[in-house]
Symmetry: C2
Subunit: 340 residues, 2 copies
């Protein structure tokens, strides 16, 4: 009503309102505040897509790589895949009576997550192998698909797939519209992400790079299957991320997005290429709408990456300041607000 | 002249000739004779791209995988990558005086290829590691690029990149036009193929899957590099091909193309998926224009694949009968012939 009244005052005012409306309608990043982070993104995309710019990059070379946990979706109070592991242990417990007394499984079954994680990485790997191997790739895909459709974060009560970051969804879409190929490059299991990456992020399975276990081709009753073996094949984290990118894509990204020290080497590898480059860290600063863990997280180091981002002038997103909304479910509210 | 005379006889005849000319101009596979192989390809593509067909496949799922050696380019008298290895040994010999007496290097340096291959797979791996590792990925890319631009097949005197199969280039292009994503899935080294796959086949590096050695992220003078290590990471052959496809693409192909037993598991994996599937073997039957090695090759087994193709009704291309031309350089001659 306010807008309508204003618009009716004069033709000139009407023109201004229309221009503003058009701008709002075409803003590809509506959930981003008009801060330096948004400006840096838009300026980078504009210059690499401008054929008259010295910074023009052909579409085929517009590779953008995104970390997943903490960059595209929440990673608190634990990595989502850790919750998946715990739920699988509970589901498989009847077939493993020995788990009642065998750590770290016993702690998981008692609901003692601190105890479950007491064994550190070795314990996590043991639980990972026990829950991610022993089935065919098709069987595992169904297990993940079923789980992700119902599993909820214990702190928020939301589905994990509802805890993706709306501003990052807009960024992925914006990059695709501008001829980029966005890839997920995550320390998480590649076959844990692929079943839902296209539906949730618009990133197809072939553009998902992750950690993997060994897989073996077998014939079962004359039918070929791929069986998942309890042995780690590749860890796509830290120094592994540039290796995973080179092995899977064979091109160096021109843009990379992360949030932790596990992403630092990916950003270093991206930044060191010739020509225009864009590196961005998501900084978790919003204790009200998400989590504020700044440089200290129970699940991984964050300080080296943030230091290097500052030293190198990479873009650091302050979630509290830079993002109008966090989750897709917040956008209705956000839209209502922006109408005033 | 004949055509022109015929055309001038009557308007009706002219109409027929025009129709034939239009057909020729739009034939996506002009180097294929009008045989059952070509019909099978065209019928498959038509049904999976027809939205009104029960066999329709969405574009995102139109994955097609091609073996390289013997399927897309020649593999006689040896795999091209073996020639690369021998040339690299000769180039590196001044830095390795011990190779003068150390087998299999000594035989290579004496030009005794039979002796060089006497050590079987172990000897080949040793030579592969000595020539493919110890440099950065960027350095290796330059080595391959330089070599492939000048190296020639000792039997034909052609550049290796001139010995690609024109009918298969047309097939790749035809599939791309119809929304397919063609991938190379080869036992060859992935970083040996990527530097030229886009220029030669129109297949970009991210759609090339191959064997690999381990690669390590290192910082050198503050600059990140990926260093190639002398250790095999993954063998993308036989049972490895479906594994490589699953790890890299995460989707099962709907069409697969090979020529040897090393491709059989890829074709089995492809054929076993639900919905329409297409499997094709290239059978080397042309002793005059290429090589006729039928079921026996010095470089690998071919018989199991051809037996299974026959048993399962897969398409088998008879190179002598089905292909008008073999190499791109033959197409001028072919066009002149087809004018009569």
């Amino acid at each position: 009503m306010q807008i309508r009244t204003l618009a009716m005052r004069s033709v000139a005012a009407l023109g201004l309102v229309c221009a503003a409306a058009v701008h709002a309608a075409t803003d590809p990043l509506p959930s981003w505040n008009e801060s330096a982070s948004k400006q840096a993104i838009v300026q980078f995309v504009q210059k690499v897509t401008d054929q008259n710019s010295a910074s023009f990059v052909p579409p085929a070379e517009r590779i953008a790589t995104f970390d997943n946990d903490g960059t595209l979706w929440g990673e608190q109070p634990m990595y989502v895949q850790a919750f998946f592991i715990f739920d699988r242990i509970k589901a498989l417990a009847p077939q493993h009576p020995e788990w009642k007394t065998q750590e770290p499984f016993a702690s998981v079954l008692k609901g003692d997550l601190k105890g479950a994680l007491a064994g550190g990485e070795a314990g996590l790997v043991e639980m990972g192998m026990a829950t991610h191997a022993g089935m065919t790739t098709e069987e595992f895909e169904k297990i993940v698909t079923d789980w992700i459709s119902t599993a909820k974060n214990p702190k928020t009560g939301k589905l994990y797939t509802e805890m993706v970051y709306q501003p990052m969804l807009e960024l992925i879409s914006y990059l695709k519209t501008n001829g980029f190929k966005p890839y997920i490059v995550s320390g998480g299991g590649v076959e844990f992400m692929r079943p839902w990456s296209e539906r949730v992020y618009g990133i197809p399975p072939e553009h998902v790079i992750g950690s993997s276990i060994l897989t073996q081709f077998q014939m079962r009753d004359g039918k070929p299957v791929l069986v998942r073996l309890p042995k780690i094949d590749f860890v796509n984290d830290k120094e592994g991320k540039p290796v995973g990118i080179q092995m899977r894509i064979g091109r160096r990204p021109i843009a990379a997005f992360g949030n932790s020290d596990g992403d630092l080497q990916m950003l270093q590898w991206t930044a060191a290429g010739a020509g225009p480059r864009f590196c961005l860290y998501v900084h978790h600063t919003d204790a009200v709408r998400e989590w504020a863990y700044d440089r200290k997280s129970s699940i991984g180091q964050l300080d080296k990456g943030l230091d290097e981002a500052q030293a190198k002038g990479w873009t650091v997103v302050d979630m509290k300041q830079d993002w109008k909304v966090i989750y897709p479910s917040d956008t209705g509210q956000a839209k209502a607000k922006s109408a005033y």
